[in-house]
């Protein structure tokens, strides 16, 4: 008969008992395998694990306790419920049976009904347990999958943020490269011209004018001032008047060159030089000397700009796979993000930095970069590209009694439109966004919060129109 209701292994050295048990179960659609001794019981259970084992205790050779011990020690059979059946009826035996992993204990002589009831109970317990285990496994799998998806989303969000940046970064790198390329040409040409023309110039000038020429060149090389194009226009106009008052020919060209060279404060010493017949040539020659220095300075500035961007990119992209926190200073991460956003910020956003010295803290710097990126990105968006972003960083030392229980507090305040109350209640929820469809994932602040949680910190928002502050608290010692 097929064991529709279950598959039972009955172990007893008394044939009469075995037959009795087999009869009880066979009638009720169980499949029963009768086994007359302990050793056979172990191998039968291992060969084909039953759903339940009825096990006599007192048997010659291997007794029931030992059978049970062996079954529990084997991975294939350890989960099969064992019910002891024995004529021994003292507490000690029962306790021993349970302690070896038996689920129940039936005393002989037994009633068929009792045996059936107990077996049914344990079979259904067992099947519930199996189902529970399966559910558990399914849940664990689902959780794993969720975690993987979440990591994926975190990475996607990071890549999206990077995507916003890349467009700006092309500009950020090509602009200095353009300046470098042009400046190198300018230097080469000016150097060639200087080598060619200086000797001729010297020959033509009196000793006094030679001294003036070198004084002018020196003044140009020393001038550190860089004027905005607007200021330069003003200076050129006023200098032109001064030169015209001194009746200098082509005062316009002369004032242009002098202002370009940064010589416009006091030109009275150079009036005689400017009155020379060859003054355009003299000025051009002085200018060529200046070009070499000025364009070198340009290159230096440009190289610094590129290195900064490359450094920032590198720090941004660095991912610590070890999952270990490392010691870092949060302000460095903030500056990396500000460098990357320089292009978007300089168009109308004033950055006010208030950094106090803060200690290193154990953290995941790449994750914190994502926090700063999201908050700054949201701020730029809320200000529509124009306004003020104030970033303050300080350490709070906490109570005197426990000086190490301090926090690093990072506050980013934007002058944007503010967060309405209904948005504020939901802004940290995943997929909540007020951006038009397709523009925002709404994951930014959800990820921010998760990252801060991982650092055992917290984040608060205070907002009124024109003043929204995100405060991030990170523990100094973790």
């Amino acid at each position: 008969m097929a064991g529709r209701k279950g598959n039972i292994l009955a172990v007893d050295d008394t044939h009469a008992n075995l037959r009795l048990l087999a009869g009880i179960f066979a009638e009720r659609e169980y499949r029963v395998r009768p086994v007359p001794d302990g050793a056979m019981a172990v191998s039968a259970a291992q060969a084909e694990p039953p759903d339940l084992i009825l096990l006599d205790i007192m048997m010659p050779g291997m007794d029931g306790y030992e059978v049970c011990e062996r079954l529990k020690a084997d991975e294939r059979t350890c989960d099969i419920p064992v019910i002891f059946i024995s004529a021994k009826n003292d507490l000690f035996d029962k306790v021993k049976g349970f302690s070896l992993g038996g689920v129940d204990y039936i005393t002989k002589p037994f009633q068929a009904e009792e045996v059936l009831a107990r077996v049914e109970t344990h079979l259904s317990l067992r099947s519930l347990q199996t189902r529970l285990e399966e559910k558990n496994k399914a849940l664990t799998d689902a959780l794993e999958q969720l975690k993987a998806t979440q990591n994926q989303l975190v990475l996607q969000e990071k890549m999206a943020a990077l995507g916003h940046l890349v467009a700006g970064i092309a500009h950020e790198i090509n602009t200095p490269l353009g300046a470098i390329q042009a400046s190198i040409n300018n230097i080469t040409n000016a150097l060639n011209a200087s080598v060619r023309e200086l000797p001729r110039l010297i020959q033509h000038l009196s000793f006094e004018r030679q001294a003036d020429f070198f004084a002018l060149s020196e003044a140009a090389l020393k001038s550190k001032e860089t004027l905005s194009s607007r200021e330069a226009r003003k200076k050129r106009r006023s200098l032109r008047k001064v030169l015209e008052d001194h009746e200098i020919d082509d005062a316009e060209s002369a004032s242009n060159i002098l202002v370009n060279m940064g010589v416009h404060q006091d030109v009275s010493a150079f009036i005689p030089l400017l009155k020379e017949k060859e003054s355009p040539f003299i000025l051009q020659t002085a200018y060529n000397l200046f070009v070499q220095q000025n364009n070198s300075q340009n290159i230096k500035t440009a190289v610094e700009r590129v290195s900064k961007v490359v450094f920032a990119l590198k720090s941004y992209a660095r991912h610590d796979d070890s999952g270990q926190m490392i010691q870092a200073v949060v302000t460095e991460g903030i500056d990396v993000v500000l460098t990357l956003y320089y292009n978007q910020l300089k168009r109308g956003i004033e950055i006010i930095k208030n950094y106090s010295a803060v200690p290193h803290i154990p953290c995941h710097p790449d994750e914190l970069n994502q926090v700063w990126t999201n908050i700054i990105h949201n701020a730029i968006y809320a200000m529509d590209g124009k306004g003020q972003l104030e970033i303050s960083v300080r350490a709070s030392e906490g109570a005197d009694s426990d000086p190490e229980a301090g926090w690093i507090i990072i506050r980013m305040t934007d002058s944007g439109k503010g967060v309405p109350d209904d948005v504020r209640a939901k802004m940290f929820e995943p997929f909540f966004t007020t951006k038009p469809a397709g523009e925002g994932s709404g994951l930014g602040l959800d990820i921010v919060r998760k990252i801060i949680d991982r650092h055992q910190g917290r984040i608060d928002v205070e907002s009124e129109p024109g003043k929204t502050t995100f405060s991030v608290f990170l523990p100094i010692r973790q």
Partner: protein
């Protein structure tokens, strides 16, 4: 005083000064050169030149700038001064913006940073001959 001018617009000083020396060397005192760090400032300069009777021949403009971008700036200039030759000098090409400028501002050339001196001068000379 030269009655003809070339105007360069870029929000980066290092670009403006290196352009200044390139222009100065190639065209000397034939033209006056003016520089602006934003579209707004460029409009001021255009207005001043207009009042002083100085003719702007060419505008060389960056694309990615604060406030107003190069395409919008050149298109606005074109509406008032269709005769000015327009050249874009950009570190980051936005194809749509370039196309828009071609269409609506009769863009003469679009140069990419880093540019070569030869291509810049060629763009200017061919523009001046128009």
């Amino acid at each position: 005083m030269p009655e003809k001018a070339i105007l360069c617009v870029d929000d980066e000083q290092i670009i403006l000064t290196s352009l200044r020396d390139q222009l100065q060397r190639h065209f000397g005192s034939r033209y006056s050169y003016e520089f602006a760090e934003s579209a707004d400032e460029a409009f001021e300069v255009i207005q001043e030149f207009y009042e002083d009777g100085v003719e702007i021949l060419i505008i060389v403009s960056d694309w990615l700038m604060p406030d107003m971008k190069g395409d919008e700036f050149l298109i606005r200039v074109h509406q008032q001064f269709p005769g000015i030759v327009k050249v874009m000098l950009t570190g980051q090409a936005n194809e749509e913006a370039i196309e828009r400028t071609r269409k609506h501002a009769n863009l003469h050339r679009c140069l990419h940073k880093p540019w070569s001196e030869d291509e810049l001068i060629e763009a200017l000379i061919s523009g001046l001959e128009m």
